[in-house]
């Protein structure tokens, strides 16, 4: 492939000292931009519950009160949005998927793939192995505060090693499947896996 054209007079900020932590095509931000496809749902903790499903069969279900009582995990991670911003050292608290499976009495996930379902009908797909071994959680707190509705509160999936649309806001259910079923953005041309380090933004990347 030929070299990209030089944009006359463009200098930019340069990669900076954090470059090893910034995937290709990303840039660092200090604030926390918001991107969602529709209105932000009203939080309703009394009516909230979180469920695990094996295909169409229910496995386990927690009310907000029960969910908050599960063993908590804290992580400090870098996050990378497909719209090219990255944010370093974000601090989250919630319940790891390992803990959820254990609480449901499962030694391993009942399917090779998982489809996360959210309020508002949003879905996203992941290989099950990408949410195990501490790689993902259902996050309820950001920087020691309850997660704002705009950022997915009361609970969002957090899978920081993939582009951030995979960290679905307002998550309510993980459905384990024996096949990969594309979610909302994946169906609309975004990459099915979404590894920021391989710059898998769109289908075919």
């Amino acid at each position: 492939m030929s070299d990209p054209p030089v944009s006359r007079g463009f200098r930019g900020r340069g990669r900076g000292s954090q470059s090893a932590r910034i995937p290709p095509g990303q840039h660092l931000v200090s604030d926390f931009p918001i991107l969602s496809a529709g209105p932000t749902p009203e939080p309703d903790l009394a009516g909230w519950h979180f469920a695990l499903e094996d295909g169409q069969s229910p496995i386990s279900r927690w009310s907000w009160h029960e969910f908050e009582a599960l063993p908590q995990t804290e992580v400090t991670v870098d996050i990378h949005c497909v719209t090219t911003w990255s944010k370093l050292d974000t601090h989250w608290r919630g319940v790891s998927i390992d803990t959820l499976l254990e609480a449901a009495g499962l030694a391993e996930p009942p399917g090779t793939f998982v489809l996360a379902h959210c309020d508002g009908g949003y879905t996203t797909n992941l290989p099950s192995e990408d949410i195990l071994d501490g790689k993902a959680m259902i996050a309820t707190h950001f920087e020691d505060e309850p997660l704002d509705p705009e950022h997915g509160g009361p609970a969002r999936l957090l899978v920081p090693h993939l582009y951030f649309w995979k960290s679905a806001k307002w998550v309510r259910k993980l459905q384990f499947l024996d096949h990969d079923q594309r979610g909302f953005w994946e169906d609309l041309g975004y990459h099915s896996y979404g590894d920021p380090w391989r710059e898998q933004r769109y289908d075919g990347d």
């Binding site: 990209p4 930019g12 095509g25 840039h27 931000v29 991107l35 529709g38 209105p39 719209t83 075919g204």
Partner: protein
């Protein structure tokens, strides 16, 4: 053929290739906003509401990329993006300040299949824009006009001052067309004799301008996050179906998009 065979036979998805874009024309829209008319040989066309990724390369090989909505109608051969210069930004000061005709950068797209409107979709069209969030909505209005659609359309557009209204003359012309209504609100300063709204978008303003719930208008909201949050929530509270309200956060949010 079984489903498995079909899956095997399906071609691998085609990668969106980076293409070389050349700036043909620079249009000064406001003191902070420019539209770039760009030539992209091999461009496949787009739908109103979609965006492109733009990638700049410096002489030392440093690259930066950002997303910009397409502002032009699919019917016109020109591809137009509209860029607001963000002071702290990295890419927008270049595109909305430095760039001149003949300059080149890379581009790929079109991207996005959700925040999209096409004429064959039934229903009234209600558009809510804040600042440079007008760009993808302008593509929809231009598309509607180019296709001679008689779908009723209303745009509610929030700007700081009259001088900050992007596409002002064109919006005035559109407002004269049958079935199109353009309503402005100016949040910071209003000229003498101003007859539009003079405050931030709120529920009462949306109730006064949006089509009734019963006609099930298709609603697109694009602008800075606070505007989008307020407008989308108010529209839902008024009774519009959540499924008909599509949002896109856009423009300066503390420099994140710059």
């Amino acid at each position: 053929m079984t489903a498995i065979e079909l899956a095997v036979a399906a071609p691998a998805p085609k990668r969106l290739q980076w293409m070389t874009a050349t700036v043909r024309e620079v249009i000064e829209e406001t003191s902070r906003v420019r539209s770039l008319v760009i030539d992209v040989p091999g461009w496949s066309g787009h739908r109103a509401g979609q965006h492109v990724d733009v990638r700049l390369t410096g002489e030392d090989g440093y690259q930066a990329q950002r997303s910009y909505s397409i502002a032009s109608a699919p019917e016109t051969p020109d591809l137009v993006i509209t860029v607001e210069r963000i002071i702290e930004g990295e890419v927008s000061p270049y595109l909305a300040g430095e760039v001149r005709p003949g300059d080149r950068f890379e581009l790929r797209g079109p991207i996005g299949g959700y925040f999209v409107w096409t004429v064959p979709l039934d229903g009234h069209l209600f558009l809510v824009a804040g600042g440079s969030g007008i760009a993808p909505l302008m593509a929809m209005l231009r598309h509607r006009a180019a296709a001679n659609s008689d779908t009723p359309a209303t745009l509610l557009y929030s700007s700081r001052t009259a001088e900050d209204i992007i596409y002002r003359a064109e919006l005035e012309r559109l407002d004269w067309q049958v079935g199109t209504k353009v309503v402005h609100t100016l949040t910071r300063m209003q000229p003498a004799g101003w007859s539009g709204f003079s405050r931030r978008i709120d529920r009462a303003m949306l109730e006064a301008t949006c089509f009734p719930v019963v006609v099930r208008p298709r609603i697109f909201v694009c602008g800075p996050t606070p505007l989008v949050e307020v407008a989308a929530r108010a529209l839902r509270d008024i009774g519009h179906s959540q499924n008909l309200i599509k949002t896109e956060r856009f423009g300066p949010t503390g420099g994140s998009y710059g």
